[in-house]
């Protein structure tokens, strides 16, 4: 009996120790997650704090008198006249009229408040509506970037305000009266890059990314899955397939810039493909994504229970039928998850694309696979390196757009895995 009691005592003591250990272990886990969440939160606060102003634009709304005499224009349908006509003057005059106390002598200072591209916009509007000539129209134009920066960051020392005191007073006054106003930055989502931050957008980069991703997907998914199926189901187990396997695993660890160099040497120099185009970008990213897809697809195929294979073989299904009817449907969720994660990686990739020239300054939205383009992360890279702070907030805004794409792709991967996962 004494023996028994002491044994129970020992167990009780060790239990206490075990529970302490467990609690400690759990605490480590909680701390680790707290640190990770904290880092993530800091990152997001910083990016959103810096970048949300990138989603806003500053505009000037005023009554523009479209006087033919002032503009040296009497027929808006005449191409030659339209080219020669003065579209700056009506804007300057309209703004002078909006500012009490401003006179003809201040025209240079007033002109500096209006975006340089506003006159182009006015010309395009008049071209579309020739009947406007001789009338007065209430129109909204982008303000100058300096005004945009002043309106958004008046008290911020990090931003250098380029307006003089006179101009600042005018802007304050105009803002109070609602002539200068901020609204959602639709320009940011509807145009390509520009030298002027107010006119710079990410549509070009988004379209470039989509085109590049499309090329990557249609090449890497079928090739990756086919390679995985062959290696897993059909290839004989010998030195050669071992060698291939080792190489695939090595490729997954190769720095992405090496793939960029390879793309430059092979696709551009050897095959003579054009630079800066989505096709070459897609090819390079395909090389980079393939190992990820092959490895995850092989893991998915391996996880299909052998009993399913055996039962299909037992009925007399051929090797191909076993693979197509049973192994592939069961492995598909895993394969798709791996592919989406590989694609998300490729979407965020910058380095290899710099080497194949996708870093060029491209104004237009690309309209095909062989049209010069840039991609979202490269656009971020370009803007983040710009000395103008107005570009930095747009870089942050672009990062938010990129993160939204990445998060939705990963969410899609998780959803698909949950949805398609089958139990057996």
């Amino acid at each position: 009996m004494t023996d028994q009691r002491s044994q129970a005592e020992i167990v009780r003591q060790s239990l206490k120790r075990r529970y302490r250990k467990e609690r400690r272990f759990r605490a480590y886990g909680v701390i680790a997650i707290a640190i990770a969440l904290g880092a993530l939160l800091t990152l997001f606060t910083d990016i959103i704090g810096k970048g949300y102003t990138g989603f806003m634009k500053t505009t000037i709304t005023m009554d523009v008198q479209l006087d033919g005499e002032m503009m040296y224009l009497d027929d808006p349908t005449d191409e030659r006249q339209m080219k020669m006509a003065d579209f700056v003057e009506p804007l300057v005059q309209a703004l002078i009229k909006e500012i009490p106390g401003a006179s003809e002598e201040d025209r240079k200072q007033v002109r500096e408040l209006i975006n340089p591209y506003a006159s182009v916009e006015l010309r395009d509007s008049l071209k579309a509506n020739p009947e406007w000539l001789g009338t007065t129209q209430t129109l909204t134009f982008l303000s100058h970037t300096d005004v945009d920066v002043y309106v958004k960051h008046a008290g911020d020392d990090a931003y250098s305000i380029k307006l003089n005191d006179q101009q600042k007073a005018w802007v304050d006054e105009l803002q109070e009266r609602g002539v200068i106003d901020t609204s959602f930055n639709d320009v940011f989502f509807s145009v390509g890059d520009s030298r002027d931050p107010s006119k710079a957008g990410i549509l070009g980069a988004i379209v470039g990314s989509l085109l590049t991703m499309f090329v990557t997907l249609i090449l890497s998914f079928p090739i990756g899955v086919a390679a995985a199926i062959y290696l897993e189901e059909f290839a004989p187990q010998n030195k050669f397939t071992d060698f291939i396997e080792v190489n695939i695993n090595n490729l997954a660890a190769v720095p992405s810039i090496i793939f960029g160099l390879l793309g430059l040497a092979v696709f551009i120099n050897l095959f003579g493909m054009p630079r800066s185009v989505p096709v070459v970008g897609g090819l390079v990213l395909t090389l980079m994504t393939l190992p990820t897809i092959i490895i995850s697809s092989r893991a998915a195929i391996k996880s299909v229970p052998p009993s399913i294979r055996e039962s299909a073989e037992g009925i007399g299904a051929s090797k191909m039928q076993v693979v197509l009817h049973h192994v592939l449907p069961l492995a598909m969720p895993g394969m798709l998850t791996g592919s989406i994660i590989g694609m998300a990686q490729a979407l965020g990739e910058t380095a290899p694309l710099l080497l194949i020239g996708m870093v060029a300054f491209i104004l237009d939205v690309p309209d095909g696979f062989f049209d010069s383009a840039t991609v979202l992360p490269v656009q971020v890279f370009l803007w983040a390196g710009s000395p103008e702070l107005a570009f930095i907030e747009r870089a942050s805004a672009a990062i938010m757009v990129l993160l939204t794409f990445l998060i939705s792709m990963n969410a899609l991967a998780i959803w698909m895995r949950k949805r398609l996962e089958r139990r057996w």
Partner: protein
Amino acid sequence: MNTVNTTITSEVGQPEEAVVPISDEKPAETVIEEGKTVGKPFADDPKFKLRDVDVFYGDTRAIKKISLDIARNEVIAFIGPSGCGKSTFLRCLNRMNDSIDICRVKGSLHLDDHDIYDPKRDVVELRARVGMVFQKPNPFPKSIYDNVAYGPRIHGLANRKSDLDEIVENSLRKAGLWEEAKDRLDANATGMSGGQQQRLCIARAIAVSPEVVLMDEPCSALDPIATAKVEELIAELSESYTIVIVTHSMQQAARVSHRTAYFHLGHLVEVNETNKVFTSPEHELTESYITGRFG
């Protein structure tokens, strides 16, 4: 109190009887002569004619020179201790060992005078004639209907939907599953109970109308009620099919089979009519095994 006492005595009594003779007789030292099988291993006009079969896993010789005939429409049970090679031998009959790279089969194996291991012979055709039911119920994660219809579909046995429906119904009826499954043919097969799943696997195997059905411990994962149903089914199926069943349960072998083959360490020791094997075994190893002295 009475019941408690009885249980204790019976629990203590049985092992004593079984344990003591082992140390005296030492059956493990019995020498088995290679290729020599006592009893009646051969039959006239057999379905399977198997001569001098050797199976190697790498360098290990798992089956040692076994010769056996399996008659038409008979139920033959393979019994023996774990690792004696009965499952390996069974899997040779429809070349399921092909998928194991290191496995080699030697000897002559014929199904109705056709060489099973003829390299020119298509394994798909063989498996359509020799169906198989596995130890663990392994339905496809598809509907009940699709499970049964899969074989006929891939072999092109039914051209019209109505033909296929008929095959599915007949197979499920033969497997005694029709009444339970007819209202939920579209339900996923993995949602059925273990016993139902195993009968579904049998239905799936007989849907391609094979000549032989191989069963590898079909009841080892089932409860006694499901086991009884499967055994009943085997008895019914034996009217139209040749059935080879591997089992660890000697009662099961005694209940369902016409002949019983006893395997020991890769040798086929004894084959005879089931009642003879269990009442008057000719070989001492068989006797030791069926009386529960080892295995």
